[in-house]
Amino acid sequence: MSTMLHDVNAGLAQGTDAPLLQVRNLQVWYPDAAAVQGVDLALRGNEVLALVGESGCGKSTVAGAIAGLLPAKVRIQGQILFDGRDLLREPEASLRALRGAQIGMIFQEPMTSLNPVLTIGEQIAEVLRRHRRLSAAAARARAIELLDLVRLPEPQRRVDDYPHNLSGGQRQRVMIAIAVACEPRLLVADEPTTALDVTIQAQVLELLSSLRRQMSMSLLLITHDLAVVGQYADRVAVMQRGCKVEEGTRDQVFFSPRHRYTQGLLEASLQVDPELHYTRVKLAEIRHTVDPDSGAHSFGFTHQERLAPAAPPAAASPAEIPAAAAPPPVLEVRDLLAQYSSRYGTISAVKNVSFEIGRGETLGLVGESGCGKSTLSKTIVGLNPAVAGQVILDGTDLVPLGGRALRPHRAKVQMVFQDPYASLNPRLRIGDALEEVLVVQGQRDRAERQRRVRAMLDAVGLPQTAARRYPHEFSGGQRQRVGIARALILQPQLVICDEPVSALDVSVRAQILNLFAELKREFGLSYLFISHDLSVINYMADRVMVMQKGVAVETLARDRFFSDAAHPYTRTLIAATPDWPRAPVARADAAQVPDRLTRFA
């Protein structure tokens, strides 16, 4: 398959003007495994090429190879032609002259990508002094201009700030200022907005894209986010397990993908579409399997399934049920006030928040980092004391309770955490971790405990043998299944899911969301589903609550959320969510397009 595609690209690369960057048959090996196996790319002047794939597919390794920033222990073969020069054969000194001057780089983690002990002015000036040989004063003056260019407020004053004085979005602006300081011809951006909030992501992408046009740079955008790709890329290359499986213009890849993996990736992706709701649709799933004997990888995907329209009453949106007829809510929060303490002091993170969650209902909670959504969830489960207000769970106010009195109520509300890698004790077998929860809740019969562990593992789609294994033996998606099993084994009425799919890849995310929907149908669960991603909320929620700076600014039924939201902050959030590209009107190969995608025509 891939050789065929290589030929296609060879044809594309020999276009009218010579490409600025040409990668030919790039192969990279780490000491233990091959990371990239024969990738060809071509990037012309003034073009945005998106390199897309899931974690571990080798896309960042390709970027590292282009920038010459891979560790010394890797072995590289092939050609990387930049402006006709093969970067893999140039001496280190001339590569250093290119880096920062002709090739600028932006990385994923704005919080750690700047040196904490140097001012941002020094860090920008450094690259100018290195490549432009500017004097200290001239470099500083130019640094201030650059900070203004990346729209950092008060550049005159900010130039002497240290990175810790800046927010994540501001730091990423500084990174961009460093990358474009010498007006490079190629900009390599490796997941530049993955760590940022939605509104900040929109601003940073907008800035990148306008600077790119202004300075006529080519952009190699590496990302896992197809919605971002759809909005900003001219051409798209898709990578899977070290190989490029598809390359084409944005519209080709989005509306007539040739490779099955691209098709699966597109189908598994979430978008803000009224039809995409857990009551109506089961998401497409990509499954990677490794043959235990031969070690061969294979992958397959299931198409999106439309669910039977006769949804059970439990799944019906309670917003539509008249208030008088509805059973009492599972959770009622009244005027809750909660604080968050750090070494920088105590702040009121939740200010007079009131809401309720009906039985079988999913309340989606949206907000950006620091809005208080995590403090709110911790306060509800009793991990953080409430300052004032009521948390009425199943008819009992939990706020005045503590210690032993609280314990029986804890079983009724459980949490699923964001990071499946950090939230499991690495020294505890999965079975023991799950059993422990039952022991705490007073289940003394060992055989009964083990029976329930086995039943729970089965319910979340893990094999029985998982009980005897340790967390490191599982993938991220499997660990999140363990996290869900841990939450559900106590048969809670309410499950609080704090960004449960943000750390997961597109394909795994679809599986976990399907699992949440299935478990809800099976056990009649209620969810408080926290996410910063509106496409996830759109799929999972019955009602949506928006929080900003500790205040619940707006609560709406999910079906009316995108149309009727009135609060300016909600409108900003909706506007900042990247739109899925619309299919071109005239299309020759409409017949090839899978069913679901015709909706966009």
Binding site: L95, R96, T112, S113, L114, N115, V117, T119, V127, H131
Partner: protein, 329 residues
């Protein structure tokens, strides 16, 4: 900044008094006192009654015949007025004794600190940059040796090999007798000459500590994202390693230096005794051997002050080097 220093100094006060009281108690717990030592040297301990009288007389003249708590009260009272007391053994005020010798120990301590930090940090940086390379392995092995060799043995070996056999360096003392006559430059050269062996001996252990610690800290720092950023700017390897990495990696090393000042002082007791260096370490040794309580207490007091001052200095320096630390609050 000023408020921070004031607050820290105020915190020191009760600590200093606590340490002084504890020192006093510890010395009291040890058997024997100065009177017995002096009486023993005069040979009067052999015969029964007369010697007891003599010891009692000595005790009275040294002020050791009052109860221990009264001695402690008197000691603390004198301390408040910065009166360090009188050494009956040396027949001189303790303050004068310390003043005479503090420069010699400071010279020894500061030189070996500079040597240990300089060499240790540099070795650590080089090892981290070429991790698991030939240099790294050689240095690791050498440092393990430096770590484990007993200081007194090393001191004696250096003395025998370089002082006695090869005669490259003098075998003891701080300067030749009568060197002042040859002018200040010749004197400085002579002191430096005498300094080499004791400084090297004192620095060996700390060098190993700093090299290992710097290496570990640098290995972590070199994997940070901002190092990748620095490389992506096209900076030279020298700028990446020293300007970007070492400035961050040095911070934990700085904390270690503060904690190590006390060890340097402890080490100087052995070194100064072996090399007959006329400093506080030698004085401490003499005070212990002679049960010279007031001298010993003052020396211990001084060293605790020094350790506290070092920790304050390190905190201030740390805040200077790390902009994330704000000591105004």
């Amino acid at each position: 900044m000023k408020a921070f220093i004031q607050r820290r100094l105020l915190q020191f006060l009760p600590l200093v008094f606590g340490i002084c009281a504890l020192n006093f108690v510890l010395i009291q717990l040890a058997p024997g006192d100065l009177a017995e030592v002096v009486a023993g040297e005069t040979g009067q301990v052999e015969d029964g009654a007369g010697s007891a009288e003599y010891v009692a007389e000595l005790r009275h003249s040294f002020g050791l015949d009052v109860p221990a708590w009264a001695q402690l009260a008197a000691y603390l009272k004198r301390l408040v007025t910065f009166d360090l007391g009188y050494s009956h053994r040396f027949g001189a005020p303790v303050g004068d004794l310390i003043r005479e010798r503090v420069a010699a120990t400071a010279l020894l301590g500061v030189s070996s600190l500079i040597l240990a930090v300089g060499v240790g940090v540099l070795l650590g940086v080089l090892c981290a940059r070429w991790r698991n390379g030939r240099l790294d392995r050689a240095v690791s092995a050498a440092m393990a040796l430096c770590y484990s060799v007993p200081v007194f043995w090393l001191a004696l070996m250096l003395l025998v090999v370089f002082g006695v056999k090869l005669q490259w360096f003098p075998i003891g003392g701080m300067q030749e007798v009568g060197i002042e006559a040859a002018g200040p430059w010749a004197q400085a050269r002579d002191v430096l000459w005498h300094l080499v062996l004791p400084v090297v001996t004192l620095a060996v252990y700390s060098t190993a500590v700093y090299a290992r610690f710097t290496r570990a800290s640098m290995v972590d720092t070199l994997q940070e994202d901002y190092i990748r950023t620095a490389r992506s700017k096209g900076l030279s390897e020298l700028a990446v390693v020293f300007r970007h990495a070492l400035r961050n990696a040095f911070l934990p090393v700085l904390t270690l230096i503060g904690a190590n000042v006390g060890e340097l002082l402890a080490g100087s007791i052995v070194i100064e005794t072996v090399f007959s260096w006329p400093g506080l370490g030698k004085l401490t040794y003499d005070a212990v051997v002679n049960r010279d309580t007031s001298l010993l207490l003052s020396l211990l007091f001084l060293s605790s002050l020094l350790v506290m001052a070092a920790s304050l200095l390190v905190d201030i320096l740390y805040a200077r080097l790390d902009p994330r630390i704000d000591i105004k609050r």
